[in-house]
């Protein structure tokens, strides 16, 4: 097939991002030509502030090198802007007279700084703050002159002012209003910002209307409406940007404020696409990078003829790139009628946090001085999370609601050799190196290339901070809807609902119904789908062993050397001499290299070869054991303390109740592992308050605790309710588990699930509504009929023998 021709007008971040995404999706579909107005390769415009401030060199912020264009066979024509688009001939013409044909055209002309039409605005020394050339002018001015005036106290103006001041100029920022960065900050936080910038030597003239720029050969001063004047050798105009639509307009492409596009990023001419700051989508123009990258992705997808995905607009957040000043804002932070405001203010520490809340959902956030939780608030905002259950701790940050505190806001001060990711042993230096050398922008990319934050995820905040400091803020604004995996655009919830609604019973049926992008899914989605089918139609769905992780196929835990470990179930942690003897016999007979008592009060036998497993199980099942499911995304153990039969403090029979709970729940498959515990008194020796379901016995009954976790993030349980009888404990437990089984996302433990859906939602179903509780509990018991079949016994009896036997060739 002859390749189609794609022309990109504008060698900037948005357009080139679209090209990169396109190359990832369909590398061979187009011959690509790129026209750029600036005489450079694509660079990270956002980091120009850091170049100006002397924190980075221009070479550090290049995104695509000449070699990259060459390697990808892209014709790059830089320093030669397109001056004409002929839509009839499908041709563009450049300033140097080059003519190129296109099948598809992508317009990404970006924006221009808005220059207020004042007298004198054309004088030498009056510039905007947009590109490399502007920065070069500032460098020259800083060498030869003393005073600068920056008109505009917004994000860009303040970054320019900070940079010029660091270059040794006396800088005055002129702002029309009395509130700096009024689009991002409320008055108190703007005051804090102004004070700290003044400390750094910037001067401000607020509520000042510029009247004229005065000068003869070059700018000499700026005069104001009140008659005053400030001397200036350099004037930087940073009052805003305007979409650069001149070329598009001259070609007759429909424009309003920007080039108007649909949700596929197509203009009114279907051969012509547009992305970036020049675009107007659903009435919005964007000037921040995250939305532009989202647009680029959608556009690339469409150019690749995949035709899925559409751009639905973005919510944006902002950070100021002035080193040493922490500032974050997102959403609608000026409270309207009916809104509530939560404020935390500590003037001595220079901390200010404000959240605007409507109907228990965060609408906006402003933070100054301590912005560590900015991304968390932003996530709650985007996802519209109901915050009522943790509202009282909300302002204190995510740490205060369960994170044991892996975060270190000082990551930027760490040495390069400091370990950031403890799971995979990745140091700060390696991460920064990978980000800059491999051109990484998102958390997922850093995870893929360095493995940092890809295992337990507790260092995610640190990695994000490193990303932000290396390439700038705001690339990783994930859409509020997360796809189940790369094989589909549907979310977990959508898949769960579809399976239920359409009564789907097999994985192939799901893949077909939901138009999966891959032939047979991947190692992420297949186990999830198998589980969702199991929950939706126990007894009817067809289980697919090949879609289960090896541990669940082999009913043991795979170890690093490929051997397995095996844990026999001991209900409630109770055992007797003959059971222990049987385990000892197995250990002798099979030369088990190591045995260990687990945290869940069981005995783990290590180092068993896969081929030995059925024989080991046979001996164990003959002795009366069933599988301990220590390998399962499912019910693991009930840990108990000794209870009132022996303990002088015990208030109830905690071991007995533990055994009953385990008899009820063993064998049950869940979204993730699930642990229970029963403590006989509030001393809580069984550690019930860090379990998925914990019972703390008290003299008058039983406290039921849920959503605890002792793992990566320690989370103490929430109190679900208190009940009086053992029968109630069992019913509430079954109902809680079933709620989790039906609603939890695969590989989501109860702790994040409880935080996601909210404790009140769970209480409503399990505690307040007796009918629903009974129904949930009945559904759980129904599914247990099919689940409580001991897999060890089955395999010992020869079921699925092929899984365990290997082929030997002489």
């Amino acid at each position: 097939m002859k390749k189609q021709k794609l022309i990109l007008i504008g060698n900037g971040m948005a357009g080139m991002r679209a090209v990169e995404e396109l190359l990832k999706a369909e590398p061979l579909l187009y011959d690509i030509t790129v026209f750029g107005a600036e005489p450079h390769v694509n660079y990270n415009r956002i980091m120009l502030s850091s170049v100006l401030a002397g924190e980075k060199a221009f070479d550090d912020i290049l995104l695509n090198t000449h070699d990259w264009y060459e390697d990808n066979q892209i014709e790059l024509l830089c320093g030669d802007p397109v001056v004409n688009i002929d839509r009839v001939k499908c041709q563009v013409t450049s300033r140097n007279g080059l003519v190129r044909d296109y099948d598809r055209l992508l317009v990404a002309t970006g924006s221009r700084p808005f220059m207020i039409p004042l007298p004198g605005v054309d004088l030498p020394g009056v510039i905007g703050f947009r590109d490399k050339a502007d920065i070069d002018s500032m460098f020259v001015a800083a060498k030869n002159y003393r005073s600068a005036v920056v008109i505009g106290g917004g994000l860009l103006g303040l970054e320019a002012a900070n940079g010029l001041s660091k270059k040794g100029m006396n800088v005055t920022v002129v702002h029309l209003l009395d509130n700096l960065m009024e689009r991002q900050l409320d008055p108190p936080s703007a005051e804090l910002l102004k004070a700290s910038l003044e400390e750094r030597g910037l001067a401000f003239k607020m509520q000042a209307q510029t009247a004229a720029i005065i000068g003869d050969q070059r700018v000499e001063a700026v005069s104001f409406a009140d008659g005053s004047e400030i001397a200036a050798d350099l004037v930087v105009m940073a009052v805003g940007i305007r979409p650069d639509i001149e070329l598009a307009q001259s070609a007759g492409i429909y424009c309003e404020r920007g080039i108007v596009v649909n949700d596929n990023m197509q203009t009114y001419d279907p051969r012509i696409y547009a992305v970036g700051e020049c675009v107007q989508h659903r009435g919005q123009c964007y000037g921040l990078v995250a939305p532009l990258f989202e647009q680029a992705k959608v556009c690339a997808n469409h150019l690749a003829l995949h035709g899925v995905g559409s751009y639905m607009g973005s919510v944006t957040s902002t950070k100021l790139k002035v080193t040493g000043i922490d500032l974050f804002s997102a959403g609608d932070f000026n409270e309207g009628e009916g809104d509530e405001t939560l404020i935390l203010q500590d003037p001595a520490l220079g901390i200010y946090k404000k959240l605007v809340i409507r109907d228990n959902i965060i609408k906006g956030a402003v933070m100054y001085g301590d912005t560590m939780d900015g991304s968390w608030y932003f996530q709650l905002l985007r996802e519209g999370t109901d915050i009522r259950d943790f509202r009282s701790n909300l302002l204190f940050g995510q740490h205060d609601i369960g994170d044991a505190g892996h975060g270190d806001s000082q990551v930027l001060l760490l040495d390069d050799s400091a370990e950031v990711c403890g799971c995979n042993g990745v140091c700060k230096g390696e991460i920064i190196d990978a980000i800059s050398k491999k051109g990484l922008f998102t958390l997922d990319e850093v995870r893929a290339h360095t493995k940092a934050s890809s295992s337990c995820g507790s260092c995610t905040g640190l990695v994000e901070a490193l990303l932000a400091s290396t390439v700038g803020e705001g690339y990783d604004a994930a859409p509020s809807k997360k796809a189940l995996c790369a094989c589909t655009d549907f979310s977990h919830d959508e898949v769960i609902q579809t399976i239920k609604k359409q009564s789907l019973l097999t994985i192939p049926a799901v893949l077909e119904y939901l138009n999966w992008k891959t032939v047979d899914g991947c190692a992420s989605c297949r186990p999830a789908l198998n589980y969702y089918l199991l929950v939706s139609a126990p007894g009817e769905y067809i289980d697919d062993a090949q879609s289960r992780f090896i541990n669940e196929r082999a009913h043991g835990n795979i170890q690093k050397d490929g051997s397995y470990s095996v844990v026999p179930r001991m209900f409630g942690g109770l055992c007797n001499a003959s059971e222990l003897r049987a385990i000892a016999d197995v250990s002798d007979k099979f030369n088990i290299p190591e045995m260990k008592v687990t945290g869940g009060q069981r005995i783990d036998l290590f180092g068993i070869q896969k081929e030995q497993l059925p024989a080991v199980w046979k001996d164990l099942t003959d002795a009366g054991f069933v599988s301990g499911h220590a390998y399962a995304k499912g019910m693991r153990t009930v840990k108990t303390c000794v209870g009132k039969n022996w303990c002088r403090f015990g208030t109830q029979d905690s071991t007995g109740l533990g055994v009953k709970l385990e008899e009820l729940t063993w064998g049950s498959w869940m979204p993730h592992k699930f642990k229970l515990a029963v403590s006989g008194c509030p001393r809580n020796c069984a550690e019930a308050t860090i379990k998925d379901f914990g019972v703390v016995c008290v003299d008058s009954g039983y406290e039921l605790h849920v959503g605890g976790n002792g793992g990566i993030k320690v989370r103490v349980t929430d109190l679900l309710c208190k009940v009086e009888t053992e029968a109630e404990v069992l019913e509430y437990c079954a109902a809680f588990i079933q709620k989790y089984r039906e609603q939890g996302h695969y590989l989501e433990r109860t702790a994040p699930w409880v935080e996601r859906v909210g404790l009140s939602h769970i209480k409503q179903a399990v505690v307040e509504n007796a009918e629903e509780r009974k129904a949930l509990s009945e559904r759980f018991k129904y599914s247990q009929q099919f689940a409580q079949v001991d897999p060890w016994k089955q395999h010992a009896d020869g079921v699925g023998a092929r899984e365990f036997a290997s082929i030997r060739v002489a």
Binding site: G521, C522, P527, K560, S806
Partner: protein, 113 residues
């Protein structure tokens, strides 16, 4: 010289699954894709020697059970950005008999190495 060794029948290997084949002292993972193509790789992930035969097979890829590296069944190459390669061996199907081409000398040498 390669020698075609008869190692298994077509249905000895589950679809979207694998069997371990011992040849001399060497372990080979014999894969079968969802559309009944057969591939053989040394049963050892290029990352930390995890048993690829125990992974989940999807498309022409297997995901290692130890750390989720994705290895291409045809080439043995780890999926980028991970880097590494597991040695592959030619496989052919005649009727329902699966053959693998492997120099016996390689099998014994690999076992030592």
């Amino acid at each position: 010289m390669n020698e075609w060794l008869a190692i298994a029948r077509a249905n000895d290997v589950p679809r979207k699954g694998a069997r371990v084949v011992h040849i001399e002292q060497m372990k080979i993972a014999l894969f079968r894709t969802g559309d009944d193509q057969y591939f053989a790789l040394k049963d050892s992930c290029p990352h930390q020697q995890g048993p690829l035969s125990q992974g989940i097979v999807h498309g022409k890829t297997v995901t290692c059970p130890l750390h989720n590296w994705k290895v291409d069944l045809e080439s043995g190459e780890a999926q980028a950005p991970d880097q590494g390669c597991s040695r592959g061996f030619p496989v052919k199907l005649e009727g329902d008999q699966i053959f693998i081409a492997i120099p016996i000398s390689v099998a014994s040498v690999e076992a030592v190495a």
